[in-house]
């Protein structure tokens, strides 16, 4: 299998990348909207385990979360995905997020994990509050990031 990409079109306008942490992995999504940055942070989390391009999207899971602030909402969103991955034995490659007033409604599209084909390198235990930021830059681009424990 070829080495999975460690960033996905991480341009100012959108995309994702992984950033280093001593023991674990940082995930970061960018987007023209906060919701797009959340979608891309989820893609980055998938990329911490497997190549997101390898993930089929034939099954859809709906996710709803609410939190007192946007940073905590990002952690809740990623942790909801961790929970769905663990209990459904699925991986997700495509995401649609909508945000309003501290509430997130999303669809995550993926497929059952295939250990031989996906060959996941790590299991995400949870998203953390370390290096947690949801910010909008002067150029209007949103960034959503945190460290995930693997």
């Amino acid at each position: 299998m070829s080495a999975p990409s460690r960033s996905g079109s991480a341009t100012a306008a959108g995309g994702w990348d992984l950033f280093p942490h001593d023991a674990d992995i940082g995930v970061r999504g960018y987007g023209r909207s906060e919701a797009a940055a959340f979608e891309n942070a989820a893609r980055a989390m998938t990329a911490s385990m497997i190549d997101p391009e390898e993930v089929g999207t034939r099954e859809t899971v709906r996710i709803v979360c609410e939190a007192p602030d946007r940073e905590m909402l990002l952690v809740d969103w990623l942790n909801a995905l961790v929970y769905e991955m663990a209990t459904r034995s699925m991986v997700f490659g495509d995401f649609s997020v909508s945000l309003s007033d501290g509430r997130l409604e999303a669809e995550a599209r993926g497929e059952p994990i295939d250990i031989a084909r996906h060959a996941p390198s790590v299991e995400v235990k949870g998203a953390t509050y370390t290096e947690l930021k949801v910010t909008r830059g002067n150029d209007g681009v949103w960034t959503a990031q945190c460290i995930i424990d693997v």
Binding site: Y83, A86, T87, S89, E123
Partner: protein
């Protein structure tokens, strides 16, 4: 690490005196090389720990300390309930009671070499490892609750092990005070199919050879002989522990202002020990410890079965089982008087020296085995608790090598196949479902474990007893 503000106390410890919002000093155990290599984030994080309410005595960072979340990995700190002391979900971590168990086998290297490839294949088949692997034991809600209350004791009663295993496990195999009702339905669901699984990341089963003995008498007490084979299991509380950590971290972060706690870092989320939330976390966390103890017990059973299939008569007694992500209620002499405190050890091992009252009878006069897992392909160590650690570090020592490089950087530097081939040329077989996972865990991505244990010994935390070299590694 920048040495500004560090006061060297002896050759192997560095003290940061209280300043600003620090309520206590911080002490980092390291020699000059380790302190220079240590991340500045370790200092920032251990200083943050000293700002939490009710801390008694210094906060400590072990020689393998590295950047964690909230607490540094390798962080130790005690809190007193009657002084508003806190319990921190971040100070325990997501993988509650992650730990290491060592089994003796009585076999020789030659016994393993004769069947090595086939045996490695059998172990990789017998031990569910890696993301998406499921255990063969599925528990319903009542059985899960019994497991969460009983730990390894429950597993032995189910037939996964022997009564004589239990005294060779911290807490005699059962963490008292567990309250399974404080565990959510989500955590239950996440664990249902994960009993008897190894997990992934840095978790592994290794077959190792005892290649060096430092203390013949203590090694004999532990059942370790040069040239003999042992099996080491490194894993934790699986999905249940991760979910407990996730949920309580959130609740503690939200409720901190209500408890009058100002968090320098949200990941340090905590609650007063005497609060309702604090008590619920303690009950749930103790159940998480039991989950990890039960899980390592079931894996022990699977490992024994695999050995029995190849080596008639091999019975694999437990040398010891230690946990390195916990918070435990203990008594320590702090500032000249006996205190009842809650000791967080995040990536640190309890290391009780001779005479400690919690020790099993077999170890009372020599101290407990302190099992230090190396990285894949490098040495692991068995140390013995040093009585001096009681006064120096609340009876604590290091837990492993500690990463020197991020996963990201490791995966850029190496390919899994290349790492596997290099280790094979040294006689080490690595089996894993993930090539990238092997690259991320490459031996070069870790600190030199030899240097870490040498400093632990010279600092007086624990003494070396035996060095173990991997022969077969089943990586999650």
């Amino acid at each position: 690490m920048d040495r500004t503000g560090l006061n060297q106390i002896g050759d192997y410890a560095w003290r940061i005196d209280p300043a600003g919002e620090m309520r206590a000093p911080a002490i980092i155990f390291a020699d000059e090389a380790l302190i220079d290599d240590m991340d500045d984030k370790v200092r920032e994080q251990i200083v943050n720990v000293t700002t939490l309410p009710g801390i008694v005595g210094p906060a400590y960072a072990m020689p393998d300390a590295h950047w964690g979340y909230g607490f540094p990995i390798g962080g130790v700190a005690a809190f007193a309930p009657e002084e508003g002391g806190v319990i921190s979900a971040g100070g325990v971590g997501f993988d509650i009671s992650c730990g290491v168990r060592l089994l003796a086998t009585g076999l020789s290297r030659a016994d393993i070499e004769a069947v090595k490839l086939n045996f490695a294949h059998e172990l990789s088949r017998a031990i569910p490892a890696g993301v998406g692997s499921k255990g063969r034991i599925v528990l319903d809600d009542d059985e899960l609750d019994a497991m969460l209350a009983g730990g390894a004791g429950w597993a032995v009663r189910q037939g996964w092990g022997r009564a004589e295993d239990l005294p060779r496990i911290e807490e005699n195999g059962t963490m008292r005070g567990a309250v399974p009702e404080f565990i959510s339905a989500k955590a239950h669901k996440r664990q249902r199919k994960e009993m008897g699984t190894l997990g992934s990341g840095n978790h592994y089963l290794e077959v190792q050879e005892v290649v060096q003995i430092y203390d013949v008498d203590v090694a004999r007490r532990f059942g370790l002989d040069a040239g003999r084979i042992v099996a080491m299991i490194h894993c934790g509380s699986r999905g249940l522990g991760h979910q407990i950590g996730t949920e309580f971290l959130r609740d503690m972060a939200i409720s901190a202002p209500e408890h009058g706690i100002r968090l320098p870092d949200r990941e340090l989320a905590c609650a007063p020990i005497e609060s309702d939330l604090g008590q619920r976390y303690i009950g749930a966390m103790r159940a998480g410890i039991n989950c990890a103890l039960a899980n390592r017990q079931i894996l022990t059973h699977l490992v024994r079965k695999a050995f029995a299939g190849f080596f008639a008569g091999a019975d694999l007694p437990v040398v010891y089982d230690v946990s390195h992500n916990t918070c435990k209620e203990e008594e320590h002499v702090i500032d000249g008087r006996m205190r009842r405190v809650f000791v967080h050890r995040k990536g640190a091992t309890r290391a009780l020296g001779p005479g400690a009252s919690q020790l099993p009878e077999a170890f009372v006069d020599c101290g407990q085995p302190v099992i230090i897992g190396g990285s894949m392909g490098t040495s692991s160590f068995v140390l013995v608790g040093d009585a001096r650690s009681e006064a120096m570090s609340l009876g604590s020592a290091c837990h492993g090598a500690g990463r020197a490089m991020s996963r990201h950087a490791a995966a850029k530097l190496w390919k899994g196949r290349q790492v596997q081939d290099a280790l094979a040329s040294e006689g080490i077989i690595v089996k894993s479902p993930s090539s990238r996972g092997i690259a991320e865990e490459a031996p070069g991505a870790y600190k030199n474990v030899d240097a870490v244990v040498e400093v632990a010994e010279k600092a007086g935390l624990a003494r070396r007893v035996a060095r173990l070299k991997p022969v077969i590694c089943i990586k999650g």
